[in-house]
């Protein structure tokens, strides 16, 4: 079965996909190219929200809501706090990227990488359809995490604990050393 362009647009789910994917990619591009530091981080919200919407399309509800809660809820706040504390140029245009000497090779490298990945994907999977809208229940996922994947889960818990302690130890002011 070969999927042609007209087949692609006949399926209504693909229109929903385009409505999600195009803003996601635009927001991703503005995240790495915007000259306003707060806007760059807020575009990252849109890009991550778009990825969460793609997860909902694929039926991965729990992963989607985790992205919304952890990334958009917590990580973005950390970014904004980091920006404010490091006294970055808030609310104005500033020189946040390297000049053309770095941008041109970087654009070339990322374009070539995107081309190679896309070519490989189209070569391998160009006609594979994906079953839409079969939601994975949170119940099923949690049973797997606390049964089959319980040791990796505990390891991740320890990594988070170490990161918490490390973050506090790094970021607090050391009075006796400072004096």
């Amino acid at each position: 079965m070969t999927v042609t362009v007209s087949d692609f647009f006949r399926e209504s789910a693909n229109w929903a996909f385009l409505v999600i994917a195009i803003p996601t990619l635009y927001a991703g591009w503005r995240t790495v190219s915007s000259n306003n530091i707060v806007r760059a981080v807020l575009y990252l919200v849109v890009a991550l929200g778009g990825s969460a919407a793609l997860f909902f399309m694929l039926g991965a509800e729990f992963v989607g809501w985790t992205v919304v809660l952890v990334y958009i809820g917590a990580v973005i706040i950390l970014f904004l706090i980091g920006i404010m504390i490091t006294r970055a140029p808030l609310g104005q245009e500033a020189d946040l990227s390297h000049d053309r000497n770095v941008k041109a090779p970087a654009a070339l490298l990322s374009t070539v990488m995107f081309g190679v990945i896309t070519w490989g994907l189209l070569d391998a999977f160009s006609n594979e359809a994906i079953a839409p809208f079969e939601p994975t229940s949170t119940n099923e996922l949690s049973l797997l995490i606390f049964d089959r994947f319980v040791i990796p889960f505990e390891v991740v818990s320890f990594v988070l604990l170490a990161a918490l302690i490390g973050g506090i130890a790094l970021a607090r002011k050391d009075e006796e050393v400072a004096s």
């Binding site: 999927v3 692609f8 399926e11 996909f17 994917a21 990619l25 991703g28 995240t31 790495v32 530091i37 981080v41 990252l44 890009a47 991550l48 793609l54 997860f55 399309m57 694929l58 991965a60 729990f62 992963v63 985790t66 952890v70 990334y71 990580v75 950390l78 970014f79 980091g82 490091t86 970055a88 946040l96 990227s97 390297h98 941008k103 090779p105 970087a106 990322s110 374009t111 990488m113 995107f114 990945i117 896309t118 999977f125 160009s126 006609n127 594979e128 359809a129 994906i130 079953a131 994975t136 099923e140 995490i145 991740v156 990594v159 988070l160 170490a162 990161a163 918490l164 973050g167 970021a171």
Partner: protein
Amino acid sequence: MTLVQFLIVGAALFSMGLYGVITRKNAVLILASVELMLAAVNINLVTFDVYLQDVLHSGQIFSLFIIALAAAEVGIGIAIILMIFRNQRTADVDELTLMKG
């Protein structure tokens, strides 16, 4: 829906993240670009999980682990940037040349 359309979105986001990591000067924005790359990897994992109809849902569970590790990474990263800013008065990676000979 085809498999490739999701994977291409992931590849495009990953390439943009790579571009951002190379070209950005501000350390916080480099971390943001790394987050973009991790989101792209998550899209790939979940797509293949749905495509393969995996009974263990390894792709979705692995992407949950990646989300947790990304949160830890950002916490540590911001703490390191704060410490560097306190000592060097800048978050611009070009000016942090302390280890240059």
